[in-house]
């Protein structure tokens, strides 16, 4: 096997390794769902902490705004990658539940962003509590799916 071909196949292996087929089997789908939920939990709890520390006067606004931007973006990307997958028939319920939770998370992060932007300090703890509860539910589903 000559060098150019070897390089091309190595590259192919790398690229394909990063791809999940659009219609994965049940196990792969479960893994993907668990991973996506894990990421969502991470973003939800991060924003929850940001809101709490902002409320307590322990956070700098530019840092909060920056983190919100990244968290929303990351959640968006993860949600998009997940919803693009075709669930296997046995996983329809998982698909619905996960998609709902991810959607709720997206909504809450958007609310957090707006509240911070408008400096509606009164809303911080409410949204933070909502995020805490949502994170718990997502974590439970993640645990059951793993």
């Amino acid at each position: 096997m000559n060098l150019p071909r070897l390089a091309a196949s190595a590259l192919g292996a790398v690229l394909l390794g990063g791809c999940v087929p659009a219609s994965p089997d049940a196990d792969t789908y479960d893994d993907k769902a668990a991973l996506t939920l894990g990421s969502a939990v991470s973003e939800a709890r991060t924003v929850e902490r940001v809101l709490d520390t902002l409320y307590d006067g322990r956070m700098l606004r530019p840092a909060a705004v920056t983190q919100l931007r990244y968290s929303e973006d990351a959640l968006d990307t993860a949600t998009g990658a997940f919803t693009e997958l075709n669930p296997p028939p046995s996983r329809d319920r998982l698909n619905r539940r996960t998609t709902t939770l991810l959607g709720d998370a997206g909504d809450l992060l958007a609310q957090a962003r707006i509240a911070i932007e408008r400096e509606r300090v009164g809303d911080y703890t409410t949204i933070a509590d909502d995020l805490a509860r949502l994170a718990e539910r997502m974590e439970k589903l993640e645990g059951r799916t793993r």
């Binding site: 990063g18 709890r45 991060t46 520390t53 322990r58 700098l60 840092a63 920056t66």
Partner: protein, 410 residues
Amino acid sequence: MKKLFAVALGILTAVGGFVDIGDLVTNATVGSRFGMSLAWVVVAGVIGIVVFAEMSGRVVAVSGRPTFDIVRERLGPRVGLANLFGSMAVTLLTYTAEIGGVALALELATSVWSYFWIPFTAAAIWIVLWRAKFDLVENTFGLLGLALVVFSVALWHLGPDWGDLWHTASTAAKPAAEPWPSYWYYAIALFGAAMTPYEVFFFSSGGVEEGWSEKSVPVMRSNVFIGFPLGGLLSLSIAGAAAVTLLPAGIEVETLSQVSLPVALALGKVGLAVAILGFFAATFGAACETGLSVGYSIAQYFGWQWGKFVRPRDAARFHAVLLLSTVTAAVVLLTTIDPILVTEFSVVFSAVALPLTYLPILIVANDPAYMGAHKNGWLANTFGSIYLVIVLAASLAAVPLMIWTKLGTT
């Protein structure tokens, strides 16, 4: 008294200058996902860098020749060129990551997009490389980098269960949720972050910039033996703070602001501000070091005049390389690639490049023609040889693990 001041300054600068963007990101990520179960890697990495920095410092102090200068003589022009290529590519990648890190720190401080800061950061760094005095740069950013001690303070303030932390660290108790391939991938990444190749080029070339001689060896050793391990403690503090506050919450560090979150939780606004200052100083200082290292390695291979100890017009090719590297790094970052992703690549490829860097040092440090009576004793050679094996193993495993775990995401 003046001597004592110089020694203290050297140690403090070494501590503050130890942490760069790779250490910041990797230690925080590891703390948030693996707790203290990879602490042993930081210890191993610190010992490794201490062994090789001392060797390369001794080489330049005694022979007046920095490492890359001698690589070609000992390995020949062809192998030397391959070595140059590999080392330079990794250093340029690290330079890019550091500039990105500065932009991220500025973004954190202002909430203005990091991409906006890139041209200004690159220009500022280049101007410093063009005009500022070498030891002024080193001392300023080294001392300002001590702001990162805020992580140790935060960890203390959080009042963690020290026994539990110690237990996790000493038994390397990996959390059940994380798979073993990811564990080993991050072990290599952490190792690469601690033992960055550019550190050795910079340290030995800096010896010429600062005019070291045989008499400088004791001070050099105090910087390395005291300063670097203390710097390692900063790395462990960053990991520890993340382990205590983020791991239980299932928060995985992926941004610089998440790296600083534990400090905000523990110490509030003031602590956070100090942490951001520390981020800026550490990354700006490291950017200067890596930028210069790209120039040092090329100039020293070809025999061109290099250094900030001469006028820029007397080291034209060297400065042209610095300018070109800076522009290249800025252009890469302006493609809106995530600077954190660049950092992750830079630490993994640092691990890949380590054997290239360390083998020549070990060879030269044993050469009586350069070292005379100061050549390696049995202690340095024992450690050096053991580390060469470790470094080779890490280098071979790095890319396969990176692909298998998809940069640690599975």
